[in-house]
Amino acid sequence: MGEKKYTEEHEWVQLSGDIATVGITNHAQESLGDIVFVDLPTLGKEVKAKEELCVIESVKAASDIYSPLDGEVSEINDNLSKDASIVNQDAENEGWIFKIKLSNLEQYNTLMSLDQYLEFLDK
């Protein structure tokens, strides 16, 4: 697996072959507070980068989760439908939300590195 990349929507993306695993960053889960439901995307759904794909409901508010890249939803994290608080406990590992089979691998390089993301957070 490659290094994690990040989006301005506070998602992390990790590539393995042509499959990208996507979740929200630790910073995002902290600012959302207690997460109670994750409305997971439909398997097989075709998406474009920056399209709304699913919704995370925290005690405070609903937040849209965007697809970071073009492709097709190939897997979803069913554990989250039983216990959405996994995203609070371990946002950047066990709390992954969906996987996308990428249709355009080169797009991956347009995402931010960890350093770039940390700089983005400081702004």
Binding site: G33, D34, V36, F37, D39, V55, E57, V59, K60, A62, S81, N88
Partner: protein, 370 residues
Amino acid sequence: MTEEALQNIYLKDFHKKNDAKFVPFAGYDMPINYKQGIINEHIHVRNHTGVFDVSHMGQILIPFNEENISALESYIPLNIKKIISNKCHYSFILNSTAGIVDDIMLSKFKFENNEFIYIVYNSSRKQILNKIFNATISNFKIFEDRCLIAIQGPESFSSISSILNLPASMNFLNIQILQYDDSNLFISRSGYTGEDGFEISISNNKAEKLISDILNINKVMLCGLGCRDSLRVEAGLSLYGNEINEDINPVQAGLSWALDKNRLQDNNLNGSEILSQELSSISSVKKIGLSPINKIMLRNQMTIHNNNKEEIGFITSGCYSPILKKSIGIGYINKLSNISEKKYVNVRDKYEEIKLEKIPFVKKNYKKGD
């Protein structure tokens, strides 16, 4: 909305030191939760004791005299003249059409040998209410120099009886003046969570000592406004700006129990005729409790629909209930809509089925007398 500078509550630095997360609320920078998070704080209040700083609320002390009573009775639907001392009354400030300008807690007690009316009111309504008070009553004192600390939960009495000399006779809605560290506390057995508890008005300079003393007691947790809101929704309590506002009267809001019915014959009371009519006819709206069938969240302002997807109402408060482990909501529907028909809410343009629930969603746990 216009961006106005946020006001700070007196103990803001204390909350910062306790790792509070702050959000703007009713013009104040307020703690929404602390480290444990909203859900843990909520569950703690239902099982043990939680402490809230609600010093953003308005507090006013009004001399109990004929002129002031007559003015207050022109917009508060209580018989203030004959009100029982040392008891809190839930009531309203009404506008000329019986719309709710604010909901209030009103009591009468003797303080430094004089009788006073003491009113606690919403922070979001301070400007409007202070204007009304300025125009109608005299010699009153609006407390900017007192904090308001709420202690809530089934263990509240035992928690604070180790630091305060609470009379055993003090039941739900009783209010007393007690001494603490050479200062006067106004302490009422009341709150906004559906649990037993107390609200304590205390001089600013003694407030940090009091709240620290309380937090040193076993199983007491500092709690923010986040769980205060989900606790009050579970308890089915109304909030200004959500369930109530100037366009809805207490009967429509399902709060007619709080009206002194004799006052409705009194032309001196704002909107008395409208309230009498409303009580004797079928109200146009009905307050309901609801919950979704699927795992979705109900939120304020979502619309409620019938089987034909026609809009029949809206949600005034939606939240996650940590006790019922699902989303719950309070809303209004047209009185004439068919209660047994399936109902839906519009969630991001999808119609999600809901079912009606009894309000309150959890049993109230007040310490009532005989």
